[in-house]
Symmetry: C2
Subunit: 155 residues, 2 copies
């Protein structure tokens, strides 16, 4: 079964701002359903659409099934069916051979920066860039589905 | 937006049993989420898997977004995430140039036979085969999502 293993960290804003970065991809994503056992997400990026079913998180792991769908239909699904949603810019950076995804949240979550690294196993070793700070893996308030309900500006 | 327009009828069991029919396709389907505004269904057939998002029914119409997914993953999604499910045999028959889908429900819904015809518009005319009886379009208890919760044997 397709398992996603990822660890999540906060980002130092000052160092991040000084960093030379690639162009971001703009994500709009919404949730058709969330409960403790599963999340059904629709995402629209600059070029594509996706529907993703994720299971509950255990440690740094969760089941994840993702399917690419036409961008226009993903937009319609969000408009018609999303209970909650959020927007963010996503940056992809390579550091010491590993891929980091950094989300710069927008709108109600403006000011929040979160970096994620996807791993092959829970105990995989990796180097952290200097702009990566506190680990927040598994902290529910940082789940995107949660940020769509209780955004950063309300914390 | 992709709209499904279909009318639904009961089937005369005696005439149906005497009918020469093509081979059926076995469907197992479950619901990851249902509410009055939307249904998120995963279906496994003999050969394929599908994830389908349907909107609320208005008259004989509803929004429908369907995506084919690997059969093994559809099976896993059902096993992991379906809140409710059902099984049925589906027969496809052509009558007077139109396609009829006849569902022979199994297990908890054994004994229920329902025929559906998909239309281009709500007022489209069509001929009914003699084995088609009472119309049940829009009757909630015949919704598949509903049959998964309150099966025919409990009626």
């Amino acid at each position: 079964m397709p398992v996603e293993i990822e660890r999540k960290f906060l980002v130092d804003k000052t160092l991040w701002q000084k960093l030379e970065k690639p162009e971001a991809n703009f994500f709009r994503q919404g949730y058709l359903h969330t409960d403790p056992e599963k999340t059904i997400r629709v995402r629209v990026t600059n070029t594509s659409g996706y529907i993703t079913i994720k299971g509950a998180t255990t440690g740094a792991s969760r089941l994840e099934y993702e399917y690419e769908i036409p961008k226009t239909e993903a937009t319609e699904l969000l408009d018609q069916f999303a209970e909650t949603s959020l927007i963010k810019n996503r940056y992809i950076l390579i550091f010491e051979g590993k891929t980091w995804e950094v989300d710069e949240f927008l709108a109600e979550n403006e000011g929040l920066l979160v970096a994620e690294i996807e791993l092959e196993s829970e105990d995989e070793k990796f180097e952290k860039p200097d702009w990566v700070t506190e680990e927040v893996t598994g902290q529910k308030k940082y789940y995107n589905a949660q940020l769509a309900v209780n955004p950063y500006k309300n914390w």
